[in-house]
């Protein structure tokens, strides 16, 4: 069983569209994250939720809206997609000693 799973793995869409990425973890962790990795491989934190509560919001445009229906799920909805949103989005959950367990990533391409 995959510990942190994201869907979809690939997403190709037109500018202006709205899209969602889903994430689920079966590790029983309380804290989950969304990271954005750009073409230069830089990993930038976007959001963090602890037990369904938003605890970190890194001045991400409000076109990005995370939602956590329960502590095992953290979804990311993006409105009015722009070219600059093209990236790989990683979901992660935090282990007991602070290490992160990443999902396999969702590669978003905006045309």
């Amino acid at each position: 069983d995959t510990a942190v799973s994201q869907t979809p793995k690939y997403l190709v869409t037109q500018m202006g569209n709205d899209k969602s990425i889903k994430c689920e973890q079966n590790l029983g962790h309380d804290t989950m994250y969304w990271y954005k990795q750009d073409s230069k491989k830089f990993l930038k934190i976007m959001f963090s939720y602890n037990n369904k509560e938003l605890i970190i919001n890194e001045t991400v445009p409000n076109r990005f809206s995370p939602k956590s229906p329960d502590k095992a799920h953290l979804n990311l909805h993006i409105n009015s997609l722009e070219l600059g949103d093209s990236a790989v989005y990683f979901c992660a959950s935090r282990g007991p000693t602070g290490e992160l367990f990443f999902g396999e990533g969702s590669r978003l391409t905006v045309l």
């Binding site: 994250y33 830089f42 930038k44 934190i45 963090s48 990443f102």
Partner: protein, 113 residues
């Protein structure tokens, strides 16, 4: 804000050569973590160092945490093609529930067989 800087950005070696990547923080870290991301893959946790001056080994990989807890290094002895990937260091900011792991920009290692 706190930054975690990592050098070099790229390193190309012949198989069998050694490799080292260095990480520096602008502030003292409570711990430092290292991750490996294979091409097309996702970051995978390798190790965490907590104590000042700590040294840990995993087979051919040696990790060090500086005495001031502001710098760290990862050294790979006798690289193999399976070592190819991007190595990231990461340090936490804040405490409690607002735990934010800041990543260095990574070092991409390529190995020529």
């Amino acid at each position: 804000g706190q930054q975690v800087m990592q050098i070099p950005q790229y390193q190309h070696v012949q198989e069998g050569e050694d490799f080292t990547t260095y990480c520096n923080s602008s502030t003292t870290l409570s711990n430092i973590q290292w991750y490996k991301q294979r091409p097309g893959g996702h970051p995978v946790f390798l190790i965490q160092l907590v104590k000042s001056g700590e040294v840990k080994k995993q087979k051919r990989l040696t990790f060090q945490f500086g005495e001031a807890k502001k710098n760290s290094s990862l050294h790979i002895t006798a690289t193999q093609t399976t070592d190819v990937g991007t190595y990231f260091c990461a340090g936490p900011i804040s405490g409690g529930s607002n735990y934010k792991l800041t990543f260095g920009k990574g070092t991409l290692l390529t190995v020529n067989p």
